[in-house]
């Protein structure tokens, strides 16, 4: 599944994450609108500089986990008190301590599986997905700042590339993705 964004992108490649951080601060100061930043590894402190909101993935994880708890505990209780009550080793039908291990395991299972699926869905990732990429070296040692210039005038593009170069970008390119 090849994804096309129909965008024209101007991007600068940097050699180091520290240069990248200074560059982003500079660009933000000059009020240019950064489309995205691509890095080969998670760069520490990038989110606040870019103004990204905190991920809400953990909230989703909590909800999945709670669903798992309820499902597992509810199901076992239903089976042993309503559907097919059997006495095991003299324990009561509703033997809560014996239900705890499975309830716990199922909570973890649901939270983990749910979160991972959510992660891939919201990021638009998945087996066979081909997202457009700007430069193959981004997954190696280049740090990239990208601007969406689909609707920008030639002068604006020019100004942005000067800005990129001024903030020590090693290379500046445009690409249709």
């Amino acid at each position: 599944m090849k994804r096309v964004l129909n965008k024209k992108v101007l991007y600068g490649l940097y050699n180091d994450e520290e240069i990248l951080m200074t560059a982003i601060k500079q660009i933000k100061k000059e009020d240019a609108d950064i489309m995205d930043v691509f890095t080969p590894f998670p760069v520490h402190g990038l989110d606040p500089v870019l103004g990204l909101n905190e991920s809400r993935l953990h909230i989703a994880g909590f909800i999945y986990g709670m669903t798992g708890t309820t499902l597992a505990f509810g199901f076992m209780s239903w089976v042993f008190t309503r559907d097919w009550p059997i006495i095991f080793g003299g324990k009561p039908y509703f033997s809560v301590p014996a239900f705890i291990p499975i309830t716990f395991e199922f909570t973890v299972l649901m939270a983990a599986v749910g979160m991972v699926i959510t992660f891939y869905l919201v990021c638009g990732l998945g087996f066979g997905v081909e997202n457009p990429y700007l430069d193959p070296r981004i997954t190696d040692d280049k740090f990239c700042i990208a601007f969406d210039v689909s609707h920008s005038s030639k002068e604006e593009v020019e100004a942005l590339s000067v800005l990129l170069e001024r903030t020590s970008a090693e290379e500046v390119h445009t690409k249709d993705i």
């Binding site: 991920s55 559907d83 097919w84 499975i102 395991e105 891939y120 087996f127 981004i138």
Partner: protein, 523 residues
């Protein structure tokens, strides 16, 4: 960001690496033809797999009558091997989850391979209860699914069923955690590959781009998965120990089992990681990433957990005596001096005495010693499970049903089969996936690479603290600062640009590095 770092801790990435070199070093094994060492290992594994396959076939064809289990000893090598493999499977998630929460940077060098080991070990473990069922293809009966027998449900009160849930959850969560970490690294390989390989890695990397928002979510996901996996990993061996502890068999019915099993699992798991890492780093020449520091850290964990296990053995003996309960007393007396005394002696020697060698720094840092002792530890841990299972069962309540158990060749063959399976899977993993987490290593390079934290003092002089002790604080500042800059060309560039950083920025960084360091989850 990493202008000020402590050089008290020895570097975790040596060889003056740049980001590109890291990519190159770790990706290259997946890109060239395998060497002779790898081929020989693979042939060996396949050989074991083939021989073991015959044993598995015998079991499936003729039934578990081909095993030497008897009316008294209903669990033999099968469950011993199951617990042994599950125990080994504990180190991976411990390294990737618990050490992530504790912000131990050395985990980045070994977490990928250790997690792979976990997954393969759990596959081997799960094979044993499966084949013990005899009709393995009926194994799905253990899951509570709607059926035409009533529906008659499985027994949710049984520790054996808890085990089903624990192992399958553990396997699933470890797999997801591992794969999520692999996605960005597969993308790195994808962007270097050509032709058909590119297609494969394109599929595996799921369209990863390295966008800032994706990284942020990825980190959030890793952190929460680590938080989930931490109690999970402790629960799994706890529940495995419930298989024994919740029974009413003297020698099994002890409350010490859960913590003692967990410590034993970490003990054997780390030993297996050491064995594998020593082989892996030499086959793939990854000495710069899996350093002696990593091996030493793991050996420290081994000596700690080994001592916990030792204390647990002695506590068991004491409690058996102190309980005043003759059946319990006899169970332990019988373990130590009964017909299986040799297994007990092997367990005590390998698990309690051998790890104590790791109190010596020279031995902790010696590859040969580590390799030998890590194998000794795993032999010991196998004997521990055998002692618990076979010796206890062999002495039934009524002396007329006392028995003795020795495995048949089929049982031994199945054990070898899992070795072959494990070896084959691990060797294939070594060829197709980055054995060291590329992105995570890059993220710690500036706080733990040798060009930043100073030369590998420890390596050269054998003394970590050489030249690091000063009388005044000023000396510290003057000495550490130059170390953190330059040495290679690309680093010079960093130096140049950081000149225009103002004082505030610098202070910010200083506070920042004073804190937790730049582990990937730190927000």
């Amino acid at each position: 960001m990493s202008t000020v770092v402590s050089n008290v801790r020895p570097p975790l990435v040596t060889g003056n690496k740049t980001y590109h070199q890291i990519t190159e070093d770790i990706c290259s094994p997946t890109e060239k033809l395998p060497g002779m060492g790898w081929v020989l290992c693979l042939l060996g594994s396949l050989g074991l797999l083939a021989f073991g396959g015959i044993a598995v076939f015998f079991t499936l064809w003729f039934g578990i009558g081909t095993w030497n289990l008897n009316r008294t000893v209903g669990w033999g090598w099968d469950i011993t091997n199951f617990v042994w493999w599950v125990g080994i499977g504990h180190a991976g998630t411990l390294i990737s989850a618990i050490l992530l929460l504790f912000r131990q940077k050395w985990r980045t060098g070994v977490n990928r391979a250790a997690e792979a080991m976990t997954i393969f070990a759990v596959i081997c473990a799960a094979f044993f209860p499966g084949i013990h069922m005899g009709r393995m293809w009926m194994a799905f009966f253990v899951f509570p699914y709607p059926n035409t027998r009533g529906p008659l449900w499985v027994n949710f009160n049984s520790p054996l069923l808890w085990d089903v849930f624990a192992i399958s959850t553990y396997f699933t969560v470890s797999l997801l955690f591992w794969y999520t970490g692999l996605v960005p690294d597969f993308a790195t390989i994808r962007d270097r590959a050509k032709g058909f390989r590119k297609k494969i890695y394109n599929f595996l990397s799921m369209g990863w781009t390295g966008s800032a928002k994706h990284w942020q979510r990825w980190e959030s996901l890793s952190l929460v998965l680590a938080g989930l996996a931490t109690p999970l990993v402790l629960s799994v061996h706890t529940i495995v120990s419930f298989d024994f502890a919740t029974s009413v068999i003297p020698g099994w019915h002890t409350t010490i089992f859960p913590p003692y099993f967990v410590a034993g699992a970490i003990f054997s798991g780390f030993a297996m990681v050491c064995t594998l890492m020593i082989i892996t780093r030499s086959i793939l020449s990854l000495e710069d990433y899996i350093t002696i520091e990593h091996i030493e850290s793991m050996n420290k964990v081994i000596v700690l957990t080994g001592s916990i296990v030792g204390v647990a053995y002695l506590t068991e003996l004491f409690v058996a005596w102190y309980s005043g309960y003759i059946y319990e007393q006899y169970a332990f007396y019988n373990r130590a001096v009964g017909p299986y005394w040799w297994a007990y002696a092997a367990m005590m020697t390998c698990n309690v005495i051998s790890p104590q060698f790791f109190w010596f720094r020279k031995i902790r840092r010696s590859l040969v010693w580590t390799f030998v002792l890590s194998i000794v530890v795993n032999i010991g841990m196998w004997f521990e499970r055998f002692v618990i299972i076979a010796t206890t069962l062999a002495r039934d309540y009524i002396p007329s049903s006392w028995s003795y158990y020795t495995p048949s060749w089929v049982e031994m063959g199945i054990y070898l089969f899992t070795f072959g399976l494990f070896g084959t899977l691990y060797l294939i993993f070594m060829r197709v996936a980055p054995v060291v987490a590329i992105a995570e290593i890059k993220a710690i390079l500036k706080s733990s690479g040798d060009q930043y934290v100073g030369p590998a003092v420890a390596e050269r002089t054998g003394e970590i603290n050489a030249g690091l002790h000063h009388d005044t604080h000023e000396e510290h500042l003057t000495e550490t600062t130059p170390d953190t800059k330059k040495t290679s060309e690309s680093d010079l560039r960093i130096g140049e640009t950081s000149i225009d950083k103002n004082i505030e920025d610098f202070k910010e960084d200083l506070n920042f590095e004073d804190g937790e360091g730049s582990e990937k989850d730190d927000k």
